[in-house]
């Protein structure tokens, strides 16, 4: 019986009769706890994760040190991978960029891959650099031209668009910037307010709007003397001076009587930065191709080709 007593010792594990499982050896007021082993699948999965962790620590950078971390035999890091990927993309792009700068603009659309690349690049560049003034849909605003339409101040073929983007308009940073200035006919006293009112009626007439017949008649003479030099005899505009077409349905600062009088009296002049100072030639070309594709792009005339 002595051995039997020893068996029931509080701190002695025993085999439970019913389940055949060993107990933990602890007893609380006669209650004993079975020490049921973990399921085998669980234990093996656990061992497998340990083996995986050891392999992982050997292969990848893992243990942090004071300044750096252990390198692992692969030396592979997420940052390193990202840098590699960026380099690969840059390299792939640089080839296309070289091709883009060396191809005449009007021939880019013949190369489907290059064209798609340029348009996609132009679209994202537009969002970053152009949309602040010209609008996210390139729809423009008063004083900022709508790039979707077919009315161009400085020309709407690929090369003209590229030049405008590259050198900008009326800025002091680029000698080749597009430049023109309309005299302030009212503010500087060149025309009287009566004359301005008359010439306004004439502009309303040629742009196919309601007008006063008598005033327009007088205005025609004033127009011929003061305006036709830049805007053309029939008001069709002059792109060499960035002079808008006054006979069409579109006007940068508004086409109604009030807006026209205001513009003739004290003209406003928009400014655009020279983008070639900030962007590469390839980027400027991408933008030119993108803007040209928006719907108003004109064909490059044979004489204008690069």
């Amino acid at each position: 019986m002595a051995t039997d007593d020893h068996k029931h010792d509080d701190h002695k594990a025993e085999i439970d009769e019913i389940s055949g499982t060993q107990t933990t050896g602890h007893e609380w007021d006669g209650i004993k706890e079975l020490d049921t082993p973990m399921p085998r699948w669980w234990v093996w999965t656990f061992y497998a994760t340990i083996a995986f962790a050891i392999g992982y620590m050997i292969y990848y950078p893992a243990i942090p040190l004071i300044e750096t971390a252990t390198g692992g035999i692969s030396g592979e890091t997420a940052r390193g991978l990202a840098e590699k990927q960026m380099a690969a993309v840059k390299e792939a792009k640089s080839e296309l960029d070289v091709k883009l700068t060396s191809t005449p603009l009007q021939e880019v659309s013949d190369d489907e891959q290059l064209y798609r690349y340029a348009i996609a690049g132009g679209r994202s560049l537009y969002k970053v650099y152009c949309s602040q003034c010209h609008g996210s849909g390139a729809q423009g605003a008063a004083g900022f031209p709508n790039l979707n339409d077919d009315d161009w101040l400085w020309g709407g073929d690929l090369n003209a668009i590229r030049t405008t983007i590259a050198h900008g308009v009326r800025n002091e940073d680029d000698e080749d910037a597009r430049f023109s200035q309309m005299p302030a006919f009212g503010k500087d006293g060149i025309l009287t307010s009566r004359e301005i009112a008359d010439v306004t009626e004439y502009v309303l007439k040629i742009s196919d709007q309601e007008y006063g017949a008598e005033e327009a008649k007088a205005g025609k003479t004033i127009f011929a003397e003061n305006c036709a030099a830049c805007h053309g005899e029939n008001g069709l505009g002059g792109r060499e001076f960035g002079a808008p077409n006054l006979a069409d349905a579109l006007a940068l600062y508004g086409n109604d009587r009030e807006s026209l009088i205001r513009q003739i009296t004290a003209p406003r002049h928009g400014v655009m930065p020279p983008w070639l100072e900030r962007l590469s030639e390839a980027q400027v070309r991408k933008l030119a191709l993108y803007v040209h594709s928006l719907g108003g792009g004109e064909k490059t005339s044979a004489a204008e080709t690069e």
Binding site: G135, D150, D151, D248, A249, G295, G296
Partner: protein
């Protein structure tokens, strides 16, 4: 009567390890060693195995000529190009409802089959059943039948045992590799992929899939076996809702077998009643699920019907009619139990038959043949409102899918209008809208289409990029089996703008062919 046959029937020492009385909660699994059977259902299962495995392994190798612009594999799930080819049918992702429809049909079909012939899917065609059967063939070929396998399991490890074990597991793994290998052939050109697999040039995904399916086939078919059906599969639980008293299930006919006795001759000589069951345990020895069918319908039973074969061969030896274990409906069983004199009693809350009351004399007449009063299931049990409704739904799904397949277009157009800007005013006062037009040529041949406007007075269409060349229609070439996205501009002169919103249609018409389709679109302009 046939007591002299007693000695010719082998009695098996076997426990139905998965029967409720033997299977306690949380006990480790006891390995089952099913004995080989011969008979009608075994042969039927061989045939089903041959057909299902044949379909699975051969299908990816069937060819189907679709011309030079599409793959020639009869069944191909082309994930990279998002196309599904099935013989003469080609499905694009937006036509996936065909697959969904087939899955609904499969579901309803499973209901229909289960409500008529019980768990026939489980017993004959379920991949788990088929592969376990195949793995058992291997096991039997290498280690012998039931008794030899039990002896081998109990024997200490030796060179001979190790050789058998290695041979068995290697063959299982090879079957697993073949299973996983066949699977990936459905997703790529089979001969090309096989070549790449062998020379080690296939993608990581291909090898990983083969490895994964090898592991699952080996584990499920070789190691887990009946546990997959009992513990992992939800279908045994669902079947309860599908079966009713008119569904066929594998049934031990107590009304004929009870009272069972191993000593028929002696019992009969003593003048006590004795049924047809000689308690030889053949039905238990062959059961791959480790149950005793004589305990009644159980969740574990996959109705593989092998116990029917086993019992029938015993009945043949005894000179009794076949069918002590048979496919029977619950309705028929209950009627026959009543005929045999059994009574329904309450036991632990359930209404169960008390088999001790069965009088074999009520089942067998003076002639010794089974009485005419005994009911037998006819095919009429298949025809009842429930099965007719399942069949009607199943057929309607099928007919609807067929009609949809016959009437579907192989040309489609999708249009989305520019919203930024909504419209553009041009220098002559006309208004222009921009549209992204997607034309889907769903035939494996290059085709040209005319794209024009209908119902938009004065509207002119032009392709973006083609600077200002307005026309009435565009010619669009689309490559075989491809979608082409083009940007078009539509312009309406100022004097034709009656309303700020004009509804019109884009029409795409096949050149030199009959196909034509339209898209309802809208033209926006500033309010007048």
């Amino acid at each position: 009567m046939s007591a002299e046959h007693d000695t010719t029937v082998e009695t098996f020492l076997v426990e139905p390890t998965n029967s409720k009385e033997y299977r306690e909660l949380y006990t480790a699994r006891k390995k089952i060693h099913p004995r080989r059977t011969h008979g009608f259902f075994r042969n039927l299962k061989w045939l089903v195995m041959l057909v299902t495995l044949g379909i699975y392994y051969v299908t990816p190798w069937l060819r189907w000529d679709r011309g030079p612009h599409a793959p020639d594999q009869a069944v191909l799930i082309d994930l990279a190009n998002t196309r599904f080819y099935f013989f003469f049918i080609e499905i694009w992702p937006q036509e996936f409802f065909f697959v969904a429809g087939l899955l609904i049909m499969a579901g309803i079909g499973l209901f229909l089959i289960t409500s008529t012939v019980g768990r026939a899917w489980c017993g004959y065609t379920c991949p788990q059943t088929v592969w376990v059967d195949l793995f058992l063939v291997v096991e039997r070929a290498i280690e012998g039948d039931r008794n030899a396998r039990i002896k081998l399991d109990a024997a200490p490890m030796s060179a001979g045992k190790a050789a058998k074990r290695i041979a068995k597991h290697t063959t299982w793994l090879l079957i697993g590799v073949a299973t996983g290998g066949a699977w990936i052939f459905y997703f790529a050109d089979a001969p090309t992929l096989l070549n790449e697999l062998i020379v080690g040039e296939a993608s990581f995904a291909a090898y990983a899939t083969v490895a994964l399916l090898t592991a699952t086939t080996y584990t499920f078919g070789g190691l887990l076996r009946e546990q997959v059906c009992t513990y992992m599969c939800p279908w045994p639980r669902i079947q309860g809702a599908m079966l009713d008293e008119h569904s066929l299930t594998v049934t031990y006919n107590d009304w004929r077998g009870e009272p069972r006795s191993r000593h028929t001759k002696k019992t009969r000589a003593e003048g006590r009643p004795v049924g047809d069951c000689v308690d030889c345990n053949a039905c238990v020895a062959v059961c791959p699920m480790g149950i005793d069918i004589r305990d009644g319908q159980q969740l574990e039973c996959i109705t593989c019907a092998l116990c029917i074969d086993a019992c029938n061969s015993v009945m043949d030896k005894l000179g009794f009619e076949r069918g002590l274990i048979s496919y029977a409906t619950l309705g028929e069983y209950n009627a026959n139990m009543a005929t045999a004199g059994a009574r329904l009693v309450d036991r632990a809350g359930d209404r169960v038959w008390d088999t001790s009351q069965i009088k074999p004399s009520l089942v067998r007449g003076e002639s010794g043949h089974i009485s005419k009063a005994i009911a037998h299931t006819g095919f009429s049990s298949f025809i009842r409102p429930r099965t007719l409704i399942y069949f009607a739904i199943w057929s309607l799904c099928g007919l609807a899918l067929l009609a949809a397949l016959m009437l579907r277009d192989r040309l489609d157009i999708n249009v989305s209008r520019d919203r930024n800007p909504l419209y553009v005013t041009l220098s002559d006062g006309a208004i222009r809208n921009g549209y992204d037009v997607k034309i889907l040529n769903m035939k494996p041949e290059p085709r040209s289409f005319e794209l024009y406007l209908s119902g938009l007075e004065g509207g002119q269409i032009s392709l973006a990029g083609a600077a200002q060349s307005q026309s009435d229609k565009l010619i669009v070439d689309v490559r075989p089996d491809q979608l082409r996205k083009i940007k078009v501009f539509v312009k309406v002169p100022r004097n034709k703008l009656a309303k700020s919103r004009l509804d019109f249609e884009f029409v795409v018409q096949e050149i030199g062919g009959p196909e034509m389709t339209t898209y309802q679109a809208r033209f926006e302009s500033p309010s007048q």
